[in-house]
Assembly symmetry: C2
């Protein structure tokens, strides 16, 4: 047998695993010093009661032969696909057919697996800094070239820094696949409809595909920021959208997301929808019935209300971090349409140096910007997903340490 050698090119462990190891080592050495985790983008609020009720009911159905559910439909039950089409799209003026929606066990799986339907021979463009999964999955697939001078030779990097207000510039060479994530992970910055239209136009003009990750759309507060790329005219012929219940409804531990592949999206006359349908029917077997019921409950009237309250709780945390850091004199970004706060490290500290300082001196865990790409160096990500109490405490610790 021969292995896929592309795996040997990649660093042997994933950013968040590295962080976890550092944190575990610190905790083992200092069991008496409680750590506040504002690093990984994991939620902490309990699930909405509507989801809990729906899951209890679904579990009971699985206990009775009259209501027992076996293999789920590969792309999701009709009732959840209908709820998504209605609530996430139609109510925003976007027509998405149920056959264009594919329910899955999460956006991370879909973002990685989407590469299956695309040729190895595509030039990939990513923002820098970026969610590592976009890059790593392309390295594994053989699209990256080699790692030289801190970057992959065949990946087109689009730096997003304070200089361009964290909005990538249109590529100056032809690229085939463009990953965009807005509101952005890790910078927390959003894109307006006008700005996103430029990308849709670029993609349609160049025959490029936009892979649009809108996992954080629930945090949008401003009207001119699109929740879906399909709010932009022309997007259906050039974009695939990834959505997640993880950040919207706290499903990080429940596992559910979905991907939208419009029928209008074609390559040489072939619908990418049919390719993804085939991929999912062959290499995936649907989402747990219990999970699907929980997801559907997010769209009930009470579910929507409860979820809005949870989002508001995290949004308030984001404000607490943002304002607190401002008061420390830090330069701070994000937070407004996002659960992420992106800060410039003080005194030109390296981002891993800043990570170590926060961990060792005040027991606060964040994510070093450099972990998201070279242009993340000198930046740092904090998330709003902690408890309010811990968030306030972390900000206090930062203030006490940095404000002399």
């Amino acid at each position: 047998m021969k292995i896929n050698d592309n795996f040997l090119k990649i660093q042997s462990s994933y950013l968040f695993s590295n962080i976890a190891k550092k944190v575990n080592a610190y905790t083992a050495a200092n069991p008496d010093k409680p750590i506040i985790r504002l690093g990984i983008g994991d939620v902490t609020r309990p699930l909405a009661p509507a989801c809990i009720d729906a899951m209890h009911k679904a579990v009971d159905e699985m206990a009775d032969e009259k209501t027992f559910m076996g293999y789920p439909p590969e792309y999701g039950h009709k009732w959840i696909l209908e709820a998504i089409a209605e609530n996430d799209y139609r109510q925003r003026g976007v027509e998405i057919d149920e056959s264009e929606i594919f329910l899955s066990d999460g956006a991370k799986s879909d973002c990685g697996n989407i590469g299956d339907i695309l040729s190895v021979d595509n030039k990939v463009a990513v923002c820098d800094p970026v969610y590592p999964v976009y890059v790593d999955t392309n390295v594994m697939a053989g699209r990256s070239g080699d790692f030289v001078n801190g970057g992959w030779s065949n990946i087109y990097y689009m730096p997003c820094t304070a200089e361009n207000n964290f909005l990538p510039c249109l590529p100056t060479e032809k690229v085939d696949i463009i990953y965009l994530c807005f509101p952005n992970n890790p910078t927390g910055m959003a894109i307006t409809k006008t700005e996103l239209k430029k990308w849709v136009d670029y993609a349609n003009e160049n025959g490029s595909l936009i892979l649009f990750d809108s996992a954080y759309e629930a945090f949008i507060t401003e009207d001119d920021v699109p929740h879906s790329i399909f709010e932009i005219e022309g997007a259906k012929t050039c974009a695939i959208e990834f959505r997640s219940f993880s950040k919207t409804a706290g499903f990080t531990g429940v596992r559910c997301g979905y991907t939208v592949v419009p029928h209008d999206l074609k390559c040489d006359g072939v619908e990418l929808n049919s390719l993804w349908a085939r991929r999912q029917a062959t290499k995936f077997n649907g989402v747990s019935y219990i999970t699907q019921r929980a997801a559907a409950a997010c769209y009930s009237e009470e579910g929507k209300k409860q979820i809005r309250e949870i989002i508001a709780y995290y949004q308030n945390n984001a404000k607490v971090i943002y304002n607190g850091l401002k008061e420390c004199g830090f330069t701070v970004y994000g937070a407004k349409n996002s659960p992420y706060v992106w800060l410039k490290t003080p005194d030109n500290m390296g981002s891993w140096e800043f990570f170590d300082t926060l961990l060792n001196e005040i027991q606060v865990v964040g994510t070093p910007g450099e972990g998201f790409g070279p242009s993340g160096e000198g930046y740092f990500r904090l998330t709003a997903f902690g408890s309010y109490e811990n968030t306030v405490k972390a900000v206090e610790r930062i203030k006490n340490y940095f404000v002399k």
Copy 2:
């Protein structure tokens, strides 16, 4: 952008989707004629009460901030990995470390995704007939060559028919990756330890990799039939094993399985375990906490007892089908260590012709052998996963129709 052209080689829909379409069309035209489904290998018994209780408890934990669970560990919680290592391996005399076990959303996903860590440049061998996922995922990945004369030019087929008692012969040319599924889907036939040892020896001698699917091990009744390939000496240096809770514990609608990649399995000194760990950490995000609790409950004392009763129920169905078809004068295989009954169609009927006859004349749905590969032509699969009442009824209908 360019698509993965290998997708264009493949038939546009999956075997079971085709069957579903035929059945739906029949039902629409004949709403008054109730159908008995013994086709797709989907279970019908409700989940074991131990699993139901565990899920209710887990759902309640998700409702309380003190016990809420976010992102699961990528490879599974320690307690489920320990339970698997102890119950599925140690108690059978096999030492598997927890770091060799990767929990997932099901064996179908893993069987498909495992190709990610393997070079496109591998010669693949499959049994014929075979579970279509093994072949289709290799077509998608570009390992199949072209479809000529009813088969893929670069896939090595190992016919399994009555002539060799449905046990494949060792390859006469060098192959790199060998898919084996025992107890077998679709034939229902098992392999003895002595026979499987020959494959392990072949793989070790030739540097081949065996991908061993033991999704049906819970149905084994005979002592000399291995539940795991790792019961065979030497397997740890040449095999990966896929396991599922679907058939064991009725989890088809819950979605859980696992894959075992021993540390001893290496290619040019590289552990395949580390490649799969990286693949899963990057393109998968763990299994629902609620599902993991349900899976762990399968290993509790009461869970084990309840599950054994459910398996016994299906085993009895298999006996009913097997004996009933024998009484009709059919030539019948499988059933003894498997939920599948594999029969020779009467009067040299084609297997799709037999499918249509059963559907249209007596409203029984099975799976045509040809759907599993050319050597399946003239055979037909029935499954024991229906209710006892329906199973008896289906056998009666077959008797009444075929015994003149």
